[in-house]
């Protein structure tokens, strides 16, 4: 009995290293982002504080901490294509498809990512953009590597992928905030913001928040009709066109 208790004690102590008994209390400014006809991107604020584990004896936590926030958009199948010069013209010849690739991916951190933690730990938790392109792919390892890197570059140029290594600001030892501007090209769907708290290169707390980017009102109505009642939608387009054309003729008849 004593031996079991002793073992249990050792397990508990090793599982909770000193100073690591922390939890994250966090929030995000918007839980839905509404796409209206004048939608031109939206600013989000993430904030939180690092507190002692609930029910623990500790009154305060000891820093320094690092915070990394990973914002992940809905996934899509995406292809990266390469043009080559054939018969005097440039045409797409090679392509690699990436299944379930994030349509949006931004990392905000309080310090350089590689100073915060080891690259393997970052990759394992999909904190680096490259991790998303390194999934096993039928195209083979080398091709996946090359096309994956190019896909991430293209996504970054469109503002859909990005890393801001000074994106998280600490206002005190334990309170942080971060701002992210979601571009108008960010696709609608469910988003997840994963917040990681690092200390001495290890993750000591994590929490995820969800928010949604949604078309509302008229935009939602149009997009839904286009996919759910394509025939009616098409007919409506034609009627609108005929009417506009007719009206134009009537208004400007000389």
């Amino acid at each position: 009995m004593n031996r079991i208790l002793a073992l249990l004690f050792i397990v508990l102590v090793s599982a909770v290293p000193a100073g690591a008994a922390a939890r994250l209390v966090s929030g995000v400014s918007n839980d839905t982002i509404q796409i209206t006809s004048s939608f031109d991107g939206e600013r989000l604020t993430f904030y939180g504080t690092i507190a002692p584990e609930a029910g623990s004896e500790q009154r305060y936590v000891e820093g320094p901490f690092d915070v990394v926030i990973v914002v992940l958009g809905p996934t899509q199948d995406r292809v990266a294509r390469e043009k080559t010069h054939n018969f005097g013209i440039w045409l797409n010849t090679e392509q690699v498809e990436f299944k379930r690739f994030p349509s949006y991916f931004h990392v905000l951190s309080s310090r350089r990512l590689l100073e915060i933690a080891d690259i393997n730990l970052l990759n394992r938790n999909f904190i680096l953009p490259e991790a998303h392109a390194m999934m096993p792919n039928i195209a083979g390892f080398m091709k996946t590597l090359v096309f994956g890197r190019e896909l991430i570059r293209l996504m970054s140029e469109q503002g859909l992928f990005g890393v801001q290594e000074n994106g998280v600001r600490f206002h005190s030892d334990t309170f942080y905030s971060a701002q992210l501007t979601l571009p108008s090209s960010a696709p609608p769907g469910p988003y997840i913001a994963q917040t990681y708290v690092f200390q001495n290169g290890e993750i000591i707390a994590r929490k995820s928040e969800g928010f949604a980017v949604r078309k509302i009102a008229f935009e939602r109505f149009l997009a839904q009709s286009a996919t759910q009642y394509p025939l009616l939608y098409g007919i409506a387009c034609v009627v609108l066109a005929l009417f506009t054309g007719w009206l134009g003729g009537v208004l400007f008849r000389r």
Binding site: F147, S185, P187, C237, G245, G249, F252
Partner: protein, 308 residues
């Protein structure tokens, strides 16, 4: 002022859209063409996805051609019998075009085929038109009065079977070339997002010898009906018709077309045709360069499934 396009899923400046709609509408009113061959490339070059650009412009072409078709109808300038044959074969061709469109989009070759299609079609038509216009201009310089002559000698086309009498056009010709023209224009028009008026008009004049007072009206009626069918097909098949984008273009286009038509009365016919030829060639060359020159970025990406 930015406006969010729900199908293209991007926000574009409203004044830019109405502006290019208006500018293209002006040119289409000036030259009496639908303007799809200018609008589709302009949208593609300004960042609208190719599939959305092509599908939405078909809607705009319907609007642009409607007022013209109506006024020709009131003047009795439409041979409905002939138009019916062209429309039915055109819709059949459009089915083929829309199906090819989806296949090419999935294979990642849509942009290539649209570029090649524009180069070949516009290059060919542009050179023919330019030749004709330059010849007419030179002759009028020399003081020779060029009459609008309709060549009335019969060619091999008139020897084909299944002849039908088209009363209004005073034609007794085989339906085969009529159906072939409709099929071709339906296919190309739905694939490239153009009405095909600038192909239809010369085809009616030179191949079928349709009289001048029937050509424009019949061609416009065919464009309206065929592009209306194509818009519905694109909406069902690829779901890439952006009604908001199309509407912005329509508003600019119908207004611009009226000013273009007014301006066109100050220019002579061969001058207009020469200018149109240059415009058509310029678009062909722009697409040709995009195929031949080394692209800024040899890599590109595309989404192959919906968001989930």
């Amino acid at each position: 002022m930015q406006i969010y396009l729900p199908i293209a899923e991007l926000s574009v400046n409203l004044f830019f859209l109405v502006g290019i709609g208006g500018a293209v509408g002006f040119l289409s009113g000036l030259f009496g063409v639908g303007g799809g061959f200018l609008l589709t490339p302009l949208l593609i070059f300004s960042g609208v996805p190719t599939s959305v650009a092509v599908a939405s412009v078909t809607g705009q072409v319907v609007a642009a051609s409607t007022s013209g078709a109506l006024s020709h109808y009131r003047r009795g300038g439409i041979d409905l019998h002939l138009a019916m044959y062209l429309i039915l074969s055109g819709i059949l061709g459009a089915f083929g075009g829309v199906a090819t469109f989806s296949v090419l989009r999935a294979a990642g070759q849509l942009d290539l085929f649209i570029a090649v299609g524009f180069v070949v079609l516009l290059g060919f038509v542009g050179i023919l038109m330019l030749q004709e216009a330059v010849r007419a201009l030179l002759k009028s310089r020399q003081g020779i009065v060029v009459r609008e002559r309709l060549p009335n000698q019969h060619s091999w086309i008139h020897g084909l079977p299944w002849r039908v009498r088209f009363k209004k056009s005073r034609l007794y010709i085989s339906v085969l070339p009529v159906l072939a023209i409709g099929l071709f224009i339906g296919f190309v028009g739905s694939l490239l997002g153009i009405g095909g008026g600038f192909v239809m008009v010369p085809a009616l004049v030179y191949l079928l010898r349709v009289p001048g007072n029937m050509v424009i009206g019949t061609s416009l009626a065919q464009v309206v009906a065929m592009m209306a069918a194509t818009t519905i097909m694109h909406a069902v098949q690829s779901q890439s018709v952006d009604i908001l984008l199309a509407f912005c273009l329509m508003v600019g286009g119908t207004a611009g077309a009226q000013f273009g038509a007014a301006a066109g009365q100050h220019l002579r016919g061969e001058q207009l045709r020469g200018l149109l030829a240059l415009l058509v060639l310029a678009v062909a060359i722009r697409f040709g360069l995009s195929l031949v020159l080394t692209p800024d970025d040899v890599f590109s990406m595309a989404v192959t499934s919906a968001v989930r």
